[in-house]
Symmetry: C2
Subunit: 393 residues, 2 copies
């Protein structure tokens, strides 16, 4: 067991119609003028944005607005937001959307906190943030966990680099979470979200050095919950209870709770997917599903105890005398689950066919992003990344 | 499932020797002069207080100090702390101790936040707090969860009233949690702590209206963890891993996490124990163990599904065709567990023998404290409280 720091200060307001409280929540945070940040037209068409503006109006909160955030959110949009925020003198950034919008909002908040510096330097590791405007969200997609996490992932669309920057300074002040807002999401997006949620906890689970039993219990319970309700949503997308379970799981999976006492997590599957996402613009969760089985088969012997425990306690595999066999059955059970919810288990099923040259390029870029080698279940380097990409074709 | 608000902003610094970071943590919070608040002589004798003063000195933090907090902390000590804090001009209250010291520190922080008002009014429900000084702790007992909770329980020793006041304004800024600091605790105190920890989650578990599956999974995992490691500590009190599991469970059991989506919890066992604690000054956790089995037998038929689930998933009872039988087996298994860790299962074993008159007095006082009736598993009133006290003799 390792020592740890746990800090998840975001106030969560969870339940039906909670978006009506947004204005009062902003007021309680001392906001005067917010940058209202969102994605495509669905927030407008559904009337959500209108309801939020109404709530802001009632609370006397002014706003400027910027829509058009895309999945794998772009640096150019972040720069646009920073320029707009400066012009309008906003003191708070409110994201209305999913992880992409919240990440874009966080990046804008970094930029507005230190407007004299280039925000991309945070993502390339040139510096750390000293200041940022406060951020909050009205969540519409259960997936990334960005609503309570310290994570932020931005794609520089000029270079094709998708890069993460984690900093507690960007932990959102509050998250309005109404599961009803996620009901209209297409099934593929819902299931990609469920995959992402599970992966945030699995990245922390498949590690060396002995986790805490309490952390493992929480992680396993969360994973069983997502497996159960993802399948319910595949059949019954407007099931409120199922939407609520998945939404809350999304926050707890990535706010740090499921990693307490471990060595910091593995996160190689995420890094591998970031390269795929940067090159092919796939849905993040689907990309994770396409890469995880190959990663798992590449590393499981080096982290056998964890893979066996996962097989038995999460996937319900009968424990056998042979640990390797049990571990492999767990990986197969996970693939079966992905298939049942319509997720790909390799890149072909994901709909992409990277050439050998592209694989080498992704492996190289991945190695650059992680500073050479990375991984807890098994330490992996550039040639390993390439091997896993090849296995995942 | 109910809507909920979840807010647990305390920064947790967990691991060996973490108390050495106290000064820097206070500095990061902007503290200039702290009231260093502690209990008996053990913090002095063990050298802990000395190490903390050294850490404060290195960070340039000034301090005044006030020791002498007793279990079931007294209002008179709170008033003494408020007077001292005003005289010394402190801007932060640092508790070094367990739940009693932290609760006393919170009450002092309330008093210093609004020095013109009587702090006891918060506990009698006459008003709510508008301001409070920031609080933090170096935890030395795993039990109350006060290090991350919004709870504060104070005993007015003049009237014998033990009263709680919950307010997010008192959520501590940080909690330094070094499991080694709890190793010297006598077994009885350790096990009373484990009982208290479990009860904080059980109060949220035995409720009506359908909890979230995710919350139940977390609660059940936490309870299984405490049951496992409490027994390990009974044999091997210096087991670091076990101390760590219990310490972290203590925070998660009462920071709100195990109640998300439920109806707010039952908490009648706690209220019943508060009266026992106010009249007889018993160890809180031991008092809970003495009262819970009788409460459970009094209410289980009204909350049968939850008692059956508890029996099966937490206590490992084989599910039978007869729900009542399974539920009762779960309660018996809980009593067996209490006995194994040296906890009482009734008031006689607790070492007290309240007269009928004292029982009526406690029941009356309990009804006054809860404003008449209380309870989610089953709504209970004064005559029910008396009946449970009689069963628990």
């Amino acid at each position: 067991m390792f020592g740890f720091e746990y800090y998840a200060p975001t106030r969560v307001i969870f339940g039906r119609e909670t978006e009506g409280q947004t204005g009062e929540l902003l007021k309680a945070c001392g906001a005067g003028k917010v940058l209202l940040h969102y994605g495509g037209g669905s927030a407008v068409r559904s009337g959500l944005l209108g309801r939020i503006k109404e709530s802001l109006g009632k609370a006397g909160i002014q706003y400027a607005e910027l829509g058009g955030v895309v999945p794998n959110p772009h640096l150019s949009k972040v720069r646009e937001g920073i320029a707009l925020g400066l012009r309008e003198g906003v003191d708070f950034v409110l994201a209305v959307g999913g992880g992409s919008v919240i990440d874009s909002a966080k990046a804008i908040a970094y930029g507005l906190g230190e407007p004299d510096k280039d925000v991309w330097e945070l993502f390339t590791g040139k510096r750390t943030a000293q200041k940022a405007l406060p951020v909050a969200s009205v969540l519409t997609i259960a997936a990334a966990g960005s609503e309570t996490s310290n994570s932020c992932v931005i794609t520089n669309e000029e270079t094709g680099e998708k890069r993460a920057y984690d900093d507690d300074i960007s932990r959102p002040r509050f998250a309005v979470m109404n599961p009803e807002l996620t009901m209209s999401l297409p099934d593929y997006q819902t299931q990609a979200g469920c995959t992402d949620i599970m992966m945030h906890t699995m990245e922390r689970y498949f590690t060396q050095g002995g986790n805490m039993e309490l952390t493992d219990e929480i992680a396993e319970g969360l994973l069983r919950t997502v497996i159960k309700y993802a399948q319910i949503l595949h059949e019954d997308p407007e099931n409120y209870e199922a939407r609520a379970e998945i939404m809350w799981a999304g926050s707890l999976a990535h706010n740090g709770l499921t990693g307490c006492g471990n060595d910091g997590g593995d996160f190689v599957s995420h890094m591998l997917e970031h390269e795929i996402g940067g090159m092919f613009d796939v849905t993040h969760g689907a990309g994770l599903a396409a890469v995880w089985p190959s990663w798992a088969r590449y590393v499981y012997r080096n982290c056998l105890g964890r893979f066996v425990r996962y097989a038995v306690k999460v996937m319900g595999v009968e424990p056998g005398a042979d640990g390797e066999e049990t571990a492999l059955k767990g990986i197969e059970a996970m693939e079966d689950f992905y298939r049942r919810i319509g997720m790909p288990v390799n890149m072909t099923e994901l709909g992409i066919a990277p050439t050998e040259e592209q694989i080498l390029q992704m492996a190289k870029s991945c190695a650059a992003a992680v500073g050479g080698c990375k991984g807890s279940a098994k330490l992996l380097c550039e040639q390993d990344f390439a091997a896993i990409y090849r296995m995942a074709r």
